[in-house]
């Protein structure tokens, strides 16, 4: 079983051009900023949105002119769309019933799925009486209960709370790894993508801007968006040996010599801050200005403008010692060994 799709959708102000080739058993995470076309892609695969041009083939079978109810598809909607007049249980049982499973059996299946998402006790509640997260879990159960060959998940964990989320994620992961169909997962959460996906496709403004394994994408982001997503400082430039002249201004020295256009990436934790230009081994040092400061748990993330602009993670102690307030002038220092350069 494998999916082969070429999708073209045109709307005023937005166009989607996407090629997707996914093997059976593979989970692809679709990442991208708001409005990139992720939901549109899923709706198109499900047959709810007309393709202006292109084709969808699942396991050699043409899907693009099959009506949505005949497609072996399960879709979790971003806003759940639970049937308001049916209880949670009946919502989940709806799919099996529609496929001709007898009522009692469908209910057993549904109860089972509700159990798995931890909502057995809310089986009889109507959607209006469910909280946001509860509704999302029911929606997940509903889509999984039809055992689709093409599973489409639109931010299936977004409304889940921090305590349920790891469990449901682990559960979903277990389910997906046992699953031999094709799965496309839309998410905004890098961690979800890393944990759940075999491959990441990054969509920006309707176009694929990067594609690869989670670790590959995380290590070598090719766009600003991906870099932020995985928490790296990313710059594009031209390499001549170990010197990279950055397109946005400034220079960096890297430990991985290259030639021609490259990306450079390094984590915020690799950036050290000094009140004055430091003497010593680090080869990259440049003056920057503090733009913003955010406390993230036990580390403080500092947004610095300069050539190049970077993010730095420092300890609360350093903030106090350096007197870091917006507007303060400091030096940013990065060891060349921390700067990863790869062809751009």
């Amino acid at each position: 079983m494998s999916l082969d799709a070429h999708l073209e959708v045109d709307r005023p102000g937005f166009s989607l051009r996407l090629d997707l080739r996914i093997e059976a058993g593979e989970v692809v995470a679709l990442l991208g900023p708001n409005g990139a076309g992720k939901t549109t892609t899923l709706r198109t695969l499900a047959g709810l949105q007309r393709v202006d041009n292109g084709h969808i083939t699942l396991n050699g079978e043409r899907l693009h002119d099959v009506p949505p109810d005949r497609r072996p598809v399960g879709l979790v909607f971003q806003d759940y769309l639970l049937f308001p007049h049916l209880s949670a249980l009946e919502n989940v049982a709806f799919g099996p019933r529609a496929h001709g499973v007898p009522r009692d059996q469908a209910r057993t299946v549904a109860r089972d799925w509700l159990e798995r998402v931890g909502l057995a006790s809310h089986a009889l509640a109507k959607p209006r009486a469910l909280s946001g997260g509860q509704a999302q879990r029911v929606a997940l159960a509903r889509a999984l209960a039809v055992e689709p060959r093409l599973l489409l998940l639109d931010e299936p964990l977004a409304a889940l709370d921090a305590s349920t989320r790891p469990e449901v994620r682990a559960d979903l992961r277990r389910h997906l790894s046992a699953y031999d169909g094709v799965c496309v997962l839309v998410t905004h959460d890098a961690l979800d993508a890393m944990v759940l996906a075999d491959r990441i496709v990054v969509l920006e403004s309707g176009r694929v801007t990067q594609e690869g394994t989670p670790s590959g994408v995380a290590r070598a982001p090719r766009t600003e968006y991906v870099a932020r997503l995985v928490g790296l400082n990313l710059h594009r430039g031209k390499a001549a040996g170990d010197r990279v002249t950055l397109d946005g201004g400034g220079e960096l020295t890297t430990a991985s010599p290259a030639h021609g256009p490259v990306f450079t990436a390094f984590p915020p934790s690799a950036v050290a801050l000094y009140p004055h230009r430091p003497e010593g081994s680090p080869r990259n040092a440049w003056p920057v200005t503090v733009a913003a400061i955010e406390q993230h748990g036990s580390v403080v993330r500092v947004r610095l403008t300069g050539r190049p602009s970077v993010l730095a993670d420092v300890t609360p102690g350093a903030v106090a010692d350096l007197g870091l307030i917006p507007g303060a002038a400091v030096w940013a220092v990065v060891k060349a060994t921390e700067v990863h350069a790869y062809p751009g």
């Binding site: 499900a46 709810l48 598809v73 049937f83 799919g95 529609a98 889509a143």
Partner: protein, 262 residues
């Protein structure tokens, strides 16, 4: 459920005026009704037969109008058949047609010499006019547009994405219609059915023209009222009040069924 909010005066005033406009004439009838004669009027032969026939025929007509009308409303609201605007306008035809003319039109089609009736008669020996089924047909003809348009309005106001969701779960058109669309617009269908039932109950012109007027088989209450009007208007008022009170009682009793609480 959300409590707290009081109806704004700008809505309350016209609402009360509107209600008064609809109800005060009824009050006028009650005030002027010949109370002393009510018992004898209601004991007159045929009154209760006419009432029973009215209730039965109006209910059957509503069922017929619902069975045919809800799919028609769905077609108008959800599909993209060409010429929908014209079809929708054609649906209103029986509303605009003076009911007597509607009855004539039905005779022209289903009568002994009508376009279709002729064949019904020669092939199956069926003659519809002057029978109880004709009453049901005449009432359904007049009442169905109300149902169709009310249900179409409700369908358009409902969120069609639930139907998308049903499709992704493998539900075909009919299953989706039955399990999702229908329950979602149930209040609209209920409102439409009430409209249709009430209209059928009050139908006069088309019925008397197409179905005729024979005590026990085709004489409904409005026809009995009309006859009484000719000789004794006070009796007509009493009969009308009886029809009203029975229909109000039925609607109040049905309330819990046709107004889904929620």
């Amino acid at each position: 459920m959300t409590g707290f909010r009081r109806p704004p005066l700008l809505l309350l005033v016209p609402a009360v005026l509107g209600l008064a406009f609809l109800v005060v004439p009824l009050a006028g009838m009650l005030v002027r009704a010949p109370w002393t004669r009510i018992v004898s009027d209601l004991a007159a032969p045929g009154v209760w037969d006419a009432l029973r026939l009215s209730l039965i025929c109006a209910t059957l007509a509503t069922v017929l109008a619902t069975v045919l009308g809800v799919p028609l409303a769905w077609l108008l609201a959800r599909s993209d058949v060409p010429g929908r605007g014209l079809i929708r306008a054609l649906v209103t035809v029986p509303l605009v047609l003076p009911p007597v003319v509607g009855g004539v039109a039905l005779l022209l089609v289903l009568g002994r010499r009508g376009l279709i009736g002729e064949h019904l008669n020669t092939w199956f020996g069926i003659s519809l006019p002057f029978t109880t089924p004709a009453v049901v047909l005449a009432e359904a003809f007049v009442a169905m547009p109300f149902l169709v348009l009310a249900v179409e309005g409700a369908l358009r106001a409902a969120d069609s994405r639930y139907e998308d969701a049903a499709a992704t779960l493998g539900a075909g058109g009919w299953y989706t219609f039955r399990r999702v669309t229908l329950p979602l617009v149930a209040p609209g269908i209920a409102a439409g059915a009430v409209l249709a039932w009430a209209r059928a109950l009050g139908e006069f012109g088309a019925t008397i023209t197409f179905a005729g007027n024979f005590p026990g088989t085709t004489q409904t209450m409005p026809i009995a009222v009309y006859e009484a009007l000719e000789t004794d208007p006070d009796t007509a008022v009493v009969l009308s009040l009886l029809l009203l009170i029975v229909s109000i009682a039925v609607l109040v009793a049905l309330r819990d069924r046709w107004v889904p609480t929620g």
